[in-house]
């Protein structure tokens, strides 16, 4: 009764399994060597990281091929035959010990070099310079310690429309800190840099694929990694955020331009210090209404996506926006006037400017009042001249 009722199925002894397993092994190997999707060309000192990846690839690849082909062989050779009978072999301690030892050797061969490189990775060299990367939803900002080589202290409580880094006013070490304008960081070639990571709000992760290294930025603490840029190219390297940080995560980009030492120094000279920024703010010629708009811009979080200095963040910059004509994603054009501006706040998804995503939430009358919108419009009307260099993305 129990036996015999499904012995008839011819499928039980077919060779399809062995054939498909063989195809999968072959295609997997071919794809590994000939796929068009390879690592970006390295542009930092972390060739050792690539070495550990390649070492792991070869050891694991060989294991994959051996096990795969073993399965191909067994599923072909020992496929069901009515007159055959399986061996009875509960254990084979010698074989099991042998396999355990070989596996352990393979694991050590990957782990030992990995730990040696990790030791390099976490211990910066003595001649390292420092640069701070400040992350926030959804953009990057950069700070150098200035001539004294010391960063001024910071705290999120100090952050406002005029102090996006949260600089501590009372700390003299901060006066000469260089606050980079825009979202492009310049670094000199062949100089080791320790990247100090800070976040104002949530987790982020500063990653330039060409540099290989990455690390999370964690609010409330300072994390770091170090690297030496080694390759100058005309195009800047793209910074991407690698840790989910909210609905604008995918838009959080920036740029790193690797320069010669001379080019770097002349670029650094164009960037204002914290003392310069404070002086410029004091001379600000904005009308009181536009200043009120600027406070609303910061308080309501408009600044998270819309810059005033021409930087393209998640949303379009507000610099030179008023009365301009914009191309929309649906092919139409629109002039930025009061009606369009109000609509873009109340129902932002209706008219999306070409090249941007519908990432903005709607603000209703209770969140941003009609009166506050008037102040924002005053701000827009006065945001016509670049306060600093325009960003130099590619």
């Amino acid at each position: 009764m129990a036996s015999g009722n499904n012995h008839s199925s011819q499928d039980k002894g077919n060779m399809a399994v062995a054939i498909f397993l063989l195809i999968i092994v072959i295609v997997s190997v071919l794809l590994s060597f000939f796929s068009p999707w390879q690592f970006t060309e390295i542009a930092s000192n972390w060739g050792y990281i690539d070495f550990t990846v390649i070492l792991t690839f070869w050891i694991c690849g060989i294991v994959f091929v051996v096990i795969g082909l073993f399965m191909v062989y067994t599923t072909w050779k020992f496929r069901y035959r009515a007159d055959a009978r399986a061996d009875y072999e509960p254990e084979n301690p010698k074989l099991e010990w042998w396999l355990t030892i070989v596996t352990t050797i393979g694991v050590v061969a990957m782990l030992a070099p990995g730990l040696i490189v990790w030791n390099d990775f976490v211990n910066p060299p003595d001649d390292v310079q420092e640069v701070e990367v400040l992350s926030k939803q959804w953009g990057w900002a950069f700070r150098f310690p200035g001539e004294d080589g010391k960063f001024g202290t910071v705290h999120v409580d100090n952050i406002d429309a005029d102090n996006s880094f949260g600089m501590n006013m009372a700390d003299p070490n901060g006066e000469d800190d260089v606050l980079v304008q825009g979202n492009t960081l310049h670094l000199p070639v062949d100089q080791a840099y320790k990247v100090l990571l800070r976040s104002n709000d949530v987790l982020h992760d500063f990653w330039v694929p060409e540099f290989r290294a990455k690390m999370d930025a964690v609010p409330g603490m300072i994390t770091y990694f170090w690297f030496t840029p080694t390759r100058i190219q005309d195009e800047p390297y793209e910074v991407v955020c690698a840790e989910l940080c909210g609905r604008g995560h995918y838009t959080m980009r920036g740029w790193v331009k690797v320069d010669t030492q001379d080019d770097f120094q002349s670029w650094l000279g164009t960037q204002p210090t914290w003392a310069d920024v404070q002086a410029a703010t004091a001379l600000d010629a904005m009308s009181p209404e536009a200043k009120r708009g600027r406070e609303i811009w910061a308080a309501e979080g408009c600044n998270a996506c819309h810059s005033l200095d021409g930087t393209a963040v998640v949303g379009p910059t507000w610099l030179n926006l008023w009365n301009s004509t914009r191309n929309l994603a649906d092919g139409n054009t629109v002039t930025v006037d009061e009606a369009y501006f109000v609509e873009s706040i109340r129902e932002p998804a209706v008219k999306i400017v070409e090249g941007f995503s519908p990432a903005m939430v709607a603000y209703d009358d209770e969140t941003v009042t009609q009166d506050e919108i008037q102040a924002l419009i005053a701000l827009l009307k006065e945001s016509v001249d670049a306060p600093a260099d325009a960003p130099d993305g590619p």
Binding site: T56, C60, F78, R81, D87, A242, R247, H249, A304, G355
Partner: protein, 577 residues
């Protein structure tokens, strides 16, 4: 026999169902509860399947559907991940397989605490309902924080569902853990206390070892998730600062001060890594039994397989921070966790060797359950080997948070256990219903699922681009090359096809229930006790007058000198002449 009689099981007055409600809804029969868990898990799994279509549509064809906004995308990513890990895989492997197999394979009449077992299912059902509340109108959608729910992001307004979605998610998890604890205590107690005469620990089928060890892990690991859910709820509702440092979000200051986002990550992964093995160990156990039965050969190295399960379970508690190599924790942790993580590869590799060595000189019947078992081994080999990249701290640095990670965990703990779940369903459906599933539909389902998932996930290893991105080429970015775009599109189309094939499977389950071929008591000619019940399907109480007595292990296949190629566990040994 070494073991004493278990008198209470011989004539236990079972809770006797009198009505449809007590028989099929508030049942205390472990077999009915197993089916309840299974149907609920599959139903919620179909929701996760549709969510994966939404996110793949956006990745493959960005901008084609305007209604897939970033909020919808991130909510789909989050809910897909959480449903698959907790509400499908954990619930199915332990709630369904655990409930069905533990008493039957051990020769028990039921779980030791049948009433608690019944409550366990209904609490699980409640957790599923709470999980879905975020989709109700007025709730502003479920959370979009990613299934890891990392604070501060998860409870701030820059993330979708920061008002209600995150609260319903945390509440649902807490309720699920209550359900799991009730079920888990039952499995452990039953395995330790209710084995029939002669069923020593070292005669238990490996399915039971896997389920038992996974349950121990769950009982020790889920409390860490439970407390972190409570603490995050307090941070959100009462404004405490367990996980929240001083922050300035969207221009506004918050009252938080002094908390640590890393504390949450440690708690989450102290649960989250054992969770991988909570899913993997039952799958390891079940697939061992499937391979042995359908290869007509004893499982190779049974004792080493048992100790590998125990070793993996123990080690799984000291590897958690390998999920946090680039999270900003003290860099010296990397040395420790990379070492422990790569050590765990050794017992895991032994399991793979023993599965493949079981095929050596076997007589392999390529039944549908066996096809899924073999597909599992190959998928698990790929997923396990890529784990050696990510577990080695420095190799992880360039790969973490990219599609390599997505490919790795989908193969190792997504596709691989699901292949085992399918194999197990095709294997035990005849015992559960008394009828065979349709073989032809089963084979079509198998080939589309196996080849399809491999075609989806294997090429993903080469996509060195960040994961959890709604769109790649925004502004002046050119991070996504044209060839990557083509790959993303082909992955999406394959995902549609694989998804549709799952509805063939559902159709098979429904139609075969009435129209399937009669299965008989033991259609696969297997040895373990569940195939030795006096009735098929087994009645409430499982066994007739007397419980079976076990005389041998579950793997006496093709014993030399025997007429048949299998000897069930309750067949006495021949008197030695």
């Amino acid at each position: 026999m070494a073991q004493a009689e278990i008198p209470y099981q011989e004539a236990i007055p079972l809770h006797d169902p009198h009505s449809w409600i007590t028989k099929y809804w508030f049942s205390q029969d472990h077999k009915v509860i197993a089916v309840q868990y299974g149907i609920t898990a599959v139903a919620v799994g179909l929701v996760a399947l549709v969510l994966s279509w939404i996110m793949r549509t956006q990745i493959g064809f960005p901008g084609m559907f305007e209604w897939i906004t970033p909020d919808i995308y991130y909510q789909s990513v989050t809910m897909h991940g959480m449903i698959m890990v907790i509400y499908l895989l954990t619930a199915f492997l332990l709630g369904s397989f655990g409930n069905y197999l533990v008493p039957l394979m051990l020769g028990a009449r039921d779980m030791v605490f049948p009433f608690v077992n019944m409550i366990s299912y209904h609490v699980y059902f409640a957790s599923v309902i709470i999980l879905m509340l975020g989709y109700l109108p007025g709730m502003e959608g479920p959370t979009g924080a990613g299934w890891t729910l990392y604070p501060p992001q998860a409870i701030l307004s820059g993330t979708p569902g920061a008002d209600w979605g995150i609260l319903t998610m945390l509440a649902s998890l807490a309720v699920f853990i209550v359900a799991f604890t009730m079920g888990g205590l039952n499995y452990i107690t039953t395995i330790l206390q209710a084995r029939t005469r002669g069923m020593t620990m070292m005669r238990m089928p490996l399915s039971i070892w896997g389920i038992g060890m996974a349950t121990v892990l769950g009982l020790l690991a889920f409390p860490a998730l439970f407390v972190s859910a409570i603490m995050m709820t307090l941070d959100n509702v009462l404004g405490t600062s367990f996980f929240m440092p001083a922050i300035s979000s969207a221009g506004a200051e918050h009252e938080y001060e002094g908390g640590s986002p890393l504390l949450f990550q440690h708690l989450f992964w102290f649960f989250g890594h054992p969770e991988v093995y909570i899913v993997a160990l039952p799958a390891f156990g079940v697939v061992s039994d499937l391979i042995s039965v359908h290869a007509r050969k004893n499982i190779f190295g049974y004792r080493l397989m048992v100790w590998a399960i125990v070793a993996i379970g123990g080690l799984s508690f000291i590897v958690w921070a390998h999920h946090m190599y680039v999270a900003g924790m003290h860099p010296y942790f990397g040395f420790f966790f990379a070492t422990t993580t790569l050590i765990i590869a050794v017992p895991t590799a032994i399991k793979v060797y023993n599965w493949t060595l079981t095929l050596w000189r076997a007589n392999i019947r390529f039944t549908v359950p066996m096809l899924f078992a073999i597909a599992f081994v190959l998928t698990f080999v790929v997923g396990g080997l890529t784990g050696l990249f990510l577990g080695n701290v420095i190799v992880d640095v360039p790969l973490s948070d990219t599609y390599f990670v997505v490919a790795h965990f989908h193969m190792v703990m997504g596709v691989a256990p699901i292949l085992v779940i399918f194999g197990g369903i095709y294997h035990w459906y005849p015992k559960i219903t008394g009828r065979m599933l349709n073989d032809t539909i089963g084979r079509i389902h198998f080939w589309i699922t196996f080849i399809g998932t491999y075609a989806i996930y294997f090429p993903m290893h080469f996509l060195a681009i960040p994961r959890r991105y709604y769109e790649y080429n925004v502004g002046e970015s050119a991070i996504l090359t044209p060839s990557m775009d083509i790959l993303n599109q082909s992955i999406t189309i394959t995902a549609y096809i694989v998804g549709i094939a799952q509805f063939l499977f559902i159709y098979n389950l429904i139609v075969s229930y009435r129209h399937g071929r009669e299965a008989g008591d033991n259609p696969w000619e297997a040895n373990s006790l569940e195939w030795r019940t006096p009735q098929t399907p087994p009645v409430h109480g499982n066994w007739g007058e007397r419980l079976p007595t076990v005389h041998r292990w579950a793997y006496d296949f093709s014993v030399p000198g025997e007429e048949r190629d299998f000897i069930p566990q309750d067949v006495p040994r021949k008197a030695q002449a």
